[in-house]
């Protein structure tokens, strides 16, 4: 192996960390700036804020502003709180753009999170609200060592266990690197003492034997699993398993799946609300009660020196109304907001138009039994595949429960998501079952029913979330976030935590902090 090849290999191993750095510059792995509850003391008497949208951003703002003494009202298009924070349960109906209605037929207690599904432990703002709203949380498994990595083009299409790919990749890389170290190929890069420490660390990292080899033995089986597990009594003796060759692992491309839990956003511990992500929005909605006016589609936003007026249509009656306040916090997703007349300056208007929203699909599939646990011993976590369905997510709850279970049967991005969006919902479900059965052949026998959400067809967002390019971020981000007269924007799109609820929460807190400063500066009623 040449030195270049060797470096390339290390590069693969270092991929997680180096990628994380690259991603930080894009804002995909930034730390939440949440530093504890916000202090809005000294609100001017009678001051009011009109909030548009009851997603996590709008409801965080309403909760804090109301508690600080502001008069608040939320106008919400949907007939429920939460926005993208949402779970679909048995008995629910959902009508997407184009008019296709799905009736979810899941059993009682079963659900799918069509949008957000996991909360990293460092999303302290969102977790804070879970805590004070009494929303219980449980563990979400990003990595399950017994889940699958699958390539339709490798190993004859047979899915491989995550732990086998990880152990074999790591073992072979450690063996190669230890060989290079012992052959003094790295002498100009590290000192003699470091070389010895490196060798010891490689042995432990890669599960190498005393000769720095990665092979079929109990040491490697401790990582990758056994051909026959150790047991008790007369049949106790374990049989080690045979590792795959390095080139098999490399050629398969499955090493791409190894760091999927290494990024800051995906590191253990992650959480999910018990009973579905939608429990957060529901709890906020209960707490805010009549502050939220549902079925209210904002069609125009107009500000003057004195205040802001939103015109809205009651989607139940068709009647047009208006609501006014001193200030407006608008959390309407950008593709929708871009189409609403609003008298803000050219800079904010340009920013609103500059961010395309991603295409994404989630399909929830109910099966007659939890075969992934019963047959495949996969309890929670995610399998990854190169098939268009991309992910299969296993429920991180209700383990061993008899009866039916619901899988995330597809979670798709990019081109494949656009193609799935263009299908009817039943076609999407059918395709998810068809592809998924290449990984779990039990699908065919056990499939019961499903629902499919295509985010570009979501009537209330027209997309999954804002995809800021670094160029657009540099040109427009601050103009999007700066208060324009009496209007401030908040929401996932007004954050560096794109695609995370924490972005909605922290952008809302940041914006209301600035509105509060201005309101205080202007004294009581403007």
């Amino acid at each position: 192996m040449t030195r270049r090849e060797l470096f390339k290999m290390i590069g693969m191993a270092a991929g997680g960390a180096a990628m994380y750095q690259a991603m930080s510059t894009l804002g995909y792995a930034a730390e939440s700036p949440f530093k504890g509850p916000i202090d809005l003391s000294g609100a001017p008497k009678g001051a009011s804020v009109l909030i548009l949208g009851s997603g996590v951003a709008g409801m965080t703002a309403a909760y804090e502003l109301r508690n600080a003494g502001y008069k608040v009202q939320i106008l919400e298009y949907n007939n429920r709180p939460g926005g993208r924070n949402w779970s679909i349960r048995g008995g629910d109906s959902y009508t997407e753009l184009g008019g296709y209605t799905q009736h979810c037929e899941f059993d009682k207690g079963l659900y799918i999170n069509p949008g957000p599904w996991r909360i990293p432990y460092h999303h302290r703002g969102l977790l804070h609200y879970c805590k004070i709203l009494g929303v219980p949380i449980e563990a979400f498994f990003q990595i399950n060592y017994n889940a699958y990595l699958h390539s339709s083009k490798a190993f004859g299409g047979k899915p491989q266990r995550y732990r086998e790919i990880k152990a074999d990749y790591q073992g072979h890389v450690a063996e190669l690197l230890s060989k290079a170290t012992r052959q003094h190929s790295l002498d100009d890069a590290i000192s003699k003492e470091d070389a010895e420490k490196l060798l010891e660390s490689l042995r432990s990292w890669g599960a190498l034997d005393k000769d720095f080899k990665y092979g079929k033995n109990l040491t490697s089986s401790e990582r990758r699993g056994y051909e026959k597990d150790p047991g008790g009594g007369l049949t106790a003796v374990p049989i080690p398993s045979q590792p795959m060759g390095l080139s098999d692992v490399l050629d398969s491309g499955l090493w791409q799946g190894i760091p999927s839990g290494d990024n800051y956003d995906m590191q253990t511990a992650l959480f999910q609300p018990v009973g579905g992500m939608g429990r957060i929005g529901e709890a906020f909605g209960r707490e805010l009660g009549s502050v939220i006016r549902y079925n209210s589609k904002v069609t125009k936003i107009e500000q003057s020196e004195r205040g802001v007026t939103a015109t809205y249509v009651d989607t139940a009656t068709g009647a047009t109304h208006s609501a006014s306040a001193d200030w407006c916090l608008c959390t309407i997703p950008l593709p929708v907001l871009a189409q609403i007349p609003m008298n803000v300056g050219q800079k904010m208007a340009a920013a609103i138009s500059a961010v395309p929203y991603a295409s994404a699909i989630k399909v929830g599939l109910q099966f007659k039994r939890r075969f992934w646990e019963e047959d495949d011993h996969i309890y929670g976590g995610i399998s990854y595949t190169d098939l268009p369905i991309t992910n299969i997510g296993y429920p991180n709850c209700d383990y061993h429960s008899p009866g039916k279970g619901v899988l995330l049967g597809a979670y798709i991005w990019g081109l494949n998501a656009m193609e799935f969006t263009a299908m009817t919902p039943p076609e999407r479900v059918m395709k998810a079952v068809e592809y998924g059965s290449q990984i779990h052949p039990q699908y065919k026998q056990e499939f019961d029913n499903g629902v499919a959400v295509a985010w570009h067809r979501s009537p209330f967002t027209m997309g999954c979330y804002g995809m800021w390019s670094s160029d657009a971020r540099a040109k427009h981000y601050e103009d999007l976030c700066r208060i324009d007269g009496r209007i401030a924007l908040a929401g996932e799109h007004a954050s560096y935590l794109g695609g995370w609820q924490e972005g909605g929460v922290t952008s809302a807190l940041d914006a209301i902090g600035r509105i509060h400063q201005r309101a205080v500066a202007q004294g009581s009623k403007a």
């Binding site: 750095q21 309407i332 189409q339 994404a360 263009a422 209330f460 670094s470």
Partner: protein, 151 residues
């Protein structure tokens, strides 16, 4: 030497990274196969129809996707092709260079494909708008391009 090692590692990882490690969205592989060969009709039915709907009927919710059926604005091929290339508001750009689509998870269509799909929408859904346009005409229009991401 140490810095060279570090740099090489970072570069190797970066070039691989583009092929798709998990981001906030958790997609490890997104297959691009087949798209280069799609013609106007299949581009419409596999991509555009997701928003503009079968038959170009458009849709209305909190916002709307414009109806392309009987859309008078399509009489300007420049308007139609410019919109497809550059996007606007909720409409994603399809004219970004192939190596720049990953950042916004959009899709690259060649000038020929843009011409093809514009010709398709201008001659379907009750539209009958003028002469077919060519890749050369699309090429002459402004295309989007973002400077490469800094690292």
């Amino acid at each position: 030497m140490k810095t060279r090692l570090a740099l090489t590692l970072a570069l190797a990882a970066l070039s691989l990274g583009l092929s798709g490690l998990a981001r906030a969205d958790d997609s490890l592989f997104t297959s691009k196969e087949g798209i280069e060969h799609a013609d106007g009709a299949s581009i419409y039915t596999h991509i555009c129809q997701g928003c503009h709907m079968p038959g170009g009927l458009g849709a209305i919710g909190a916002g709307h996707y414009p109806k392309l059926a009987g859309d008078p604005k399509l009489s300007s091929w420049q308007y139609a092709a410019f919109t497809v290339l550059n996007g606007r508001n909720g409409m994603p750009p399809f004219g970004l260079p192939p190596d720049q689509v990953w950042e916004t998870r959009t899709v690259h269509l060649s000038d020929e494909q843009v011409a093809d799909v514009v010709n398709y929408i201008r001659t379907h859904f009750g539209n009958n708008d003028g002469e077919a346009i060519t890749a050369a005409q699309v090429k002459a229009l402004p295309h989007p391009s973002a400077p490469p991401a800094q690292d």
